[in-house]
Symmetry: C2
Subunit: 107 residues, 2 copies
DNA sequence: AATATTGTTCGCAAATGTACGAACAATATT
DNA sequence: AATATTGTTCGTACATTTGCGAACAATATT
């Protein structure tokens, strides 16, 4: 068939997975999911990389929709984007579920 | 604290997520999860890219542990690696679950 | 034995990702 | 007003990823 396009599902989950595809970004997500206070400085403190790089990673997570940030005085507060977090959760869940319906494969 | 290392959990899920972070590889996984016959040629047929590139993507998925391949005559049969698929499923599920235990964040 | 089929590997080009320090902008503090 | 704090953006360097065609290796077929 060789269709030129990928499905929205495939694009969507790939986009989220890609954002999760770096240990620094996973640590950020873990941290945000566990903490209530989540200023940039707090995040920066738990990562072994320069703040410029942390800022970049945060941008990628924000672009993927997994987090959001808002300015608060001179600081910036970052949070998990709960709506998209739920969406992502459902996407991955149903993706992995696909196989469970099949008894065996390739035999 | 600024630890130099990331946790095994973070490394592990990042590795899997990275492998899932491309629509072509998601299509491959979807295809393999749905099909019983899964020769290279079948996979190649449903992707809009050259076979050399398909082969590369398959290698990445194999290195990440999500699929496996075995030679069968002149053909190569690819399958989901069910054990690691289950592992990945659990990893993602518990990762996304983290947030559910917290009532609200950042307010 | 010669040829066809099936995938992988090689070599290359272009794009993207990762990381850093320096410079910058915006708000707080003195 | 001058200075300090907080993050982002810029410019750069290097590594990795993605993609392709050509060449290759291995098995099948004629």
């Amino acid at each position: 068939m060789r269709s030129t396009e990928y499905t929205d599902q495939q694009e969507q989950i790939a986009r989220i997975a890609k954002a999760m595809g770096h240990p620094a970004r996973m640590r950020i997500l873990n941290f945000l999911a566990a903490q209530d206070s989540c200023f940039f400085g707090d995040i920066n403190e738990v990562l072994p990389i320069a703040k410029a790089t942390v800022s970049q990673h945060l941008k990628e997570l924000k672009d993927a929709g997994l987090i959001q940030g808002e300015i608060e005085g001179p600081k910036v507060r970052y949070c998990i984007n709960r709506e998209n977090w739920e969406l992502a959760s459902r996407l991955f869940r149903s993706f992995f579920k696909e196989l469970k319906e099949k008894p065996t494969c390739c035999e």
